[in-house]
Structure formats: structure tokens, C-alpha cells
Amino acid sequence: MTTELRKLNNREEVVLVPPVDIYETGEAYILKCEMPGVDRENIDVTLNNHELEINGRVSAEYAGDAGTVYSEYRLHNFSRKFTVDDSINTGAIQATLYNGILSITLPKSEKVKPRKIEIAMEK
């Protein structure tokens, strides 16, 4: 029993939930996510069945704790999921990484974008 529990425990990898800001513009939803210590090529952003998943693997140089003499944090891989609805134009999602901040732009699909309504001339 205990060995099974231990096995289960080992399988459960510790992940960090990165803090996120999300705001909305007329054209898109912008998501900003803090993931320090993650290289661009180690970030995975996937959209699958209305589920936006962000995964980031911390670089080996920051993950180890060899030689630690004082510690206030431990870095682990980052993971977070969001549910998105049909209003996202899934084909045009863009992501950039700058200084540990992952920015994701989720453009709104045409049907939910704000639209200016022309007023017809009076006849």
C-alpha cells in the first residue's frame, strides 16, 4: 500500500501556476502570463476543444538546487489551462515571450467584434 502511494506521489510532478492578467480589447483578448526561467522553445501553447493550455519547462540551469546556500523560491515547470468559447478566431492566435512574460493574443472572431453601424441617409 505505501509503495503504491509512493509511486502515485512520484508520478505527480510539482507544477507552478503562473499568475495571469487577461484583458479585452475590441479586437482580441490579451493574456499576459509570468513564467520566469523558461526559454521560448520550451513553451507550449495549445488550443484543443475550447481548452487553452499553457505549459512551460524551466531551463535546467534554473531548476537544479546544487550549491544552494539560501533559498526563497523553487522553480518548477509551469502549467495552466483556460476555457475559451467560440468567439476566438483560433487560426490567428499569436504568442510572444519577453523577459519572462508570455503574451498571448486571442483575436475575436468576426461575428463578435464590435461593429460600427452605418446610419442610412433619410430618403
Binding site: P19, V20, D21, I22, Y23, E24, T25, Y29, I30, K32, E34, M35, P36, G37, V38, D39, S59, Y62, A66, G67, T68, V69, Y70, S71, E72, Y73, L97, N99, G100, I101
Partner: protein
């Protein structure tokens, strides 16, 4: 002398426990000032790594004051005027002082920011190293 067991003693003891909960100072949690730092040592060199996601290199000021490494700076807000759906990140000025485990060479301090991690590399100062004294 033996104490006689009385169930009411336990009850009164519980009252004491509850009172202690309200009167004692709560255990200060592991709250540290921003930015969080780790210090690594290997041989004669020290590495200080601080988590500074979103902080630009030009907004950080590092000083060595009396063998304390002082990291000061500002995480500038990137808030927009748009309506927010979720707001979890924080911004603002920070200042933190970290005591070095040994005297460091003020002339050989290197700092870089990569992927939101500030790494400051310091080297043990020559006069902090052990010196063999020959008996004349």
C-alpha cells in the same frame, strides 16, 4: 502527587488552547520581500538569482553596500485601460538587501537578466581567502 483525571480539566484545557489561538502572535508565514532570491555558492563564487519577470534591465539598480548586495528597481506596470477579466500580477518598486556569505570583490560583479531572472555573479575577494603565513 498524582493528578486525578477529570474530563473537565480537558475541557478547560481546550478553552486555553482556543484562547492561545487568538492571543498568540500568528506564526509569520514564509513571506519574503520581492523579488524572491536564491543564493548559490560554488568554490569562490556566489550567484544570486532573483525572479524579476517583466522587469527591464534599465529599471534595476544593483549596489554592493558593506558586503550586502542591494537590488533596487521597479517593475513597471503594463496595465492597459481596457476591461480586465483577470488580474493576478503585481507591479511596483522593490528594494532588497542580501548579505553575502563572505567578502566579495567589488570590481568583479556581473549582472544579467534573462527570461525574467536576474543573475548576479560575485567572486570572493582576495583578502577574504585564507592566507598562509610563514614564520620568519
Amino acid at each position: 502527587m498524582y493528578n486525578r483525571y477529570d474530563i473537565f480539566d480537558d475541557l478547560l484545557g481546550l478553552k486555553g488552547e482556543i484562547e492561545k489561538f487568538f492571543t498568540d502572535n500568528p506564526q509569520p508565514g514564509r513571506r519574503y520581500d520581492h523579488p524572491y532570491v536564491n543564493v548559490y555558492e560554488s568554490g569562490d563564487s556566489i550567484q544570486v538569482r532573483a525572479l524579476v519577470p517583466g522587469v527591464k534591465p534599465e529599471d534595476v539598480d544593483i549596489q554592493l553596500v558593506d558586503n550586502n548586495l542591494v537590488i533596487e528597481g521597479e517593475k513597471k506596470s503594463d496595465y492597459s485601460e481596457r476591461p480586465y477579466i483577470r488580474k493576478e500580477r503585481s507591479f511596483g518598486r522593490f528594494k532588497k538587501s542580501i548579505r553575502m556569505p563572505f567578502r566579495v570583490d567589488p570590481g568583479r560583479i556581473n549582472a544579467t537578466i534573462k527570461n525574467g531572472i536576474l543573475t548576479v555573479a560575485l567572486v570572493k575577494s582576495e583578502d577574504a581567502k585564507p592566507r598562509k603565513i610563514t614564520i620568519g
